[in-house]
Symmetry: D2
């Protein structure tokens, strides 16, 4: 950490800051400049809580050099992680994984048809929501346990591991029984209690980026899970909130190469939620794969026009198959082996 | 809802949309324009789920006229609500409430001193966090139940109702025992399961705006609580995330008069978290009160330089007392009676 | 336009609005709903100025159906435009154009070396800044006319059309003499006087998106140029400002397919300025091409470590050549002919 | 400046960075930490251009301690500036100045009525736009020179100094003849050529914050004017662009106390443009004054419902007079002398 003093800070104020750093068990090294003094803080093994330092008289600002995550950082874990979800592998050297399925689980039949269609298209995992976060209380909220059963059954019928969102701690045991991978939604990215409990399982986790989370906060959220001992974390970019209104969110694809440099964890992309527009999904899927994504999750629904949720961003099964042919050719071109 | 067709949409496409609206039990009224056709949707009693409509061929966009909240809207509840928290009242016609106390509950003594100081200054409620949401897992996470006891004890000793954050459903019963008001933090504003459970109690709730929540989403979150039968909701603006880096968040004070027009629920402001800078708290507190806030919540700590959390934005008790004198004069000037 | 009345608006207020619409020469069609009345405005040939309507009593909001651009819209110009810059073509059916060169023109020799290198790599246009917008007044501001001469000379020597930024109207004649294409920088996207003057020339224009411009504003800026008679506009996405700090801006690639649907104008991408990080340029270039960009502009400098400006995002000539081989393979794969 | 090396940077890389700093004529002081090395840069008299340093191998990031402005900083100019505009003073110790008038100058009569009304209400300066920046080319663009004459005439008739926007360098001489103060609009805050030319005059300048400008960039823009010798700069906050759609922009009032601490230049607020809603103007005006603004600029129009521009945010003259009575009482309460 670097502590920057005000231009007019007195020697006493500098000394008081140095003393405060020492009481934290750290070393303070003053760096006198021509305009102001800065104080380097040494000896910390990670992120320093600067809240007391920032209050001292004469301090203009503190600048963090360490990051609020360590286990998620590639600095301390140079080798890329490969995460195995019931045999499907996410990570460097693996062919990117396409996860597909409806936004919401609606009926047993819908899930069986969806699973059949996405399997036929070449998806390697099945998605579907049993518990749905909805902005307003009067919208369809999901089938719950019944939905989980349909999901598992459809996944088994077509040999597709399944991923579904867990929204609260009480659901965790149940979801672990039915799903191969736990999804933490964007709205829960900083639900730290949920992260910790998920970290106590050894279930693979798909952690979605919060809609206004910085990359630093995203990795710090992953750190909560890793710190509890669960190393099976896959990250998912799903768009961030900006002033632009033409898309639901702004898909931030540069996060893919950045995360690949900063972290050893795999990163996938969800273009359906990011854009909210079906017509953008195919092209952004391909762009994500070229950007280095370890997978893509997209919404496919047997009949998008009748979907109870997010139909506008869902692809039909037929269209999905055509898209998957193009994706396969692209992955071959990019040098991924089957 | 208004459905806007593409410029080149065919008559068949328009007819298909009209038919789809009718199957939803609603009325469709085409509005032919010189450049394109729009279709008005009538007969709905609230927000219409447009996901299936948006997928139909020829549809350019759908525009919502109704809002995703109704019970929180002043349209349907013109009379301003007054919320009573163990005798302290928030709302129109009431003198704005100052809530003060430390960010985190640290020790029994700290809470007793803090309560004494904020009472002496003129605060009418005591705050303190027992469960803390922290960005990284290696920071101080709060005292939990022990903290709740200290908080309640300090509040009783100085006759101050207390408010504290509840982060997960399992904590709810316990927090209800010890606190007069439940705080839902910004990170949980869209933790819908938590909102629903809080809605099943009749405990007063302080609902903080999510850091990237629109006003519409903020009121829709309140709707979750109201829809379960709990009418005791006070809203709290605490800053939104923008590109500006000089403050922790950007305090959005225009939300105060806007919410007062759009909703009947009281709205208070938290300048400590919004700005993250102690020196900005006094002046933004006064600005918030002039903007019409029904209260202000601020961080006061017996010794900010030693605070375990957010010391940089805390005021000392002595300074708080001086500030409260100014605030009292301002409230008198604004015409609020004691 | 749709005018939405307040829930409690009176019949008199509705009538007053209808009368106001009629005085604008337009038709008003009331759409009575169960909760409120809306009023459709018909007969307009384009965007309606709603500022007087919004002030009338009882009006809650106005919703625009028409857009503030028409000549830039694909609705009124369905055929994609192909823009020719001294023989290099941008647009549908054309192989995407790679524009390369240094951020700033520094010396005659630097430009000759840069031109040689980017030509060898396969770039089809040369870029270089003679007039530089710099955040602070104490930074290098560009060589001006001398730089323009170096740029033109280097472009001619290697048969590369050149593009350079014009920052003020007085520079326009001079820049037109030396450059094949005029660049309007992000900071000038809403410098409407400059847009109009550029619109009076017939020089091809590269219009960069403002760093907080919506797509609607971006196309409305292009409309300024088109409305003056200059049809030779190429759009350029260069990143938008968000809360994320890890990149200089957030590259918004979904704008590429969106603009291709909404407008007939070609759209290219500048990954160097968008990300500010050299290591992200190659991968985001490829992602942009897969997303459908009609070209990419990137910074290449003979010796990035000695660049007077933006060296951190420049590629060396050698590295550029390697990247171009990969890009060529990608373009072949995507089906573009040479 | 602080240079932070990668965790795995080699000693050779550190040495190369130190050498590069020395070639810039500066001193490098390595700060070895337990996790990584940082290098302090000393000896600079201001902002350091880091573009070459950031490109060197092993460098993770550079952190600026100095700011890209110096003459605008309170560090180097501790005494608050008072700016005199034809006898009206902006700054510490002065009663805040209310500037009022229509958005656009429309007719001679309109300006005379407006001037009469705002004078009667107690405004001390008159505003009005002769050259208008409009998002689309088909909107009313202003009266130009004719408007300037109406403005000057109305100002003289009622003894009100006038302020109006200058949009391009060619207008500068003319605007200086007719106006007491030059306004630089938000869209031109980084039109550096215009800033420099304005800096060469000695006319007072009202510099509006760009809609996505950080405070640092805002002060750096002021530096452009100051650096040319024109010390008469008044800053103006007018809202920033965020994801919130309920207001036109988000008024960032905390910028007022922050600028007062960081700079010696006066800062005023424009609540009309910031919110875009007439009903929010009065309350946000008062909040701005309580926050410490040295003035407020607001739109007043003889007949808002007939305004050619921005009628929705304009106040009528009658309403303005009522508001001014409240403002005067507030300013008296705040201790400002007449």
């Amino acid at each position: 950490m670097l502590i920057v003093m005000h231009h007019h800070a007195t020697k006493e104020q500098v000394d008081q800051v140095i003393a405060a750093v020492k009481t934290m068990g750290l070393t303070a090294e003053p760096i006198p400049g021509s305009l102001r003094t800065a104080i380097g803080v040494l000896g910390n093994q990670g992120y320093v809580d600067d809240s007391t330092i920032r209050t001292l008289p004469g301090v203009r600002e503190t600048i963090h050099v360490s990051k609020p995550y360590k286990m998620a950082s590639r600095d301390f874990h140079p080798k890329a992680s490969v995460i195995d979800v019931s045999g499907v592998k996410f990570g460097d050297g693996q062919r990117p994984v396409i996860i597909a399925g409806p936004c919401s689980i609606e009926t047993e039949e819908q899930m069986m048809v969806a699973a059949k269609e996405v399997k036929a298209g070449g998806a390697r995992m099945l998605r579907g929501g049993a518990y749905k976060p909805r902005t307003g209380p009067h919208s369809f909220q999901g089938l719950g346990l019944e939905g989980l059963k349909y999901l598992q059954q459809a996944g088994r019928a077509y040999d597709l591991p399944v991923v579904t969102e867990v929204m609260r701690i009480e659901q965790l045991d149940t979801v672990c029984q039915y799903a191969d991978m736990l999804q933490i939604g964007a709205r829960n990215m900083q639900n730290f209690d949920l992260l910790k409990e998920v970290g106590k399982t050894r279930h693979p986790v798909l952690l979605k980026r919060g809609m206004s989370a910085t990359i630093e906060e995203f990795l710090a959220a992953a750190e909560y899970i890793l710190a509890e001992g669960n190393k099976n974390v896959v990250l998912c970019e799903r768009g961030i909130r900006t002033f632009e209104k033409a898309t639901r969110n702004t898909l931030d694809l540069s996060v893919v190469p950045l995360i690949r440099e900063m972290s050893h964890l795999p990163i996938i992309v969800d273009p359906s939620h990011a854009t909210g527009k079906r017509m953008l999904v195919p092209v952004m899927t391909k762009a994500a794969l070229v950007a280095g994504a370890h997978g893509v999750m997209m919404e496919v629904h047997p009949n998008p026009a009748l979907a109870l949720c997010d139909g506008a961003q869902s692809l039909s099964g037929e269209y999905f198959s055509e898209l998957m042919e193009e994706i396969d050719q692209l992955l071959d071109f990019l040098g991924y082996r089957d």
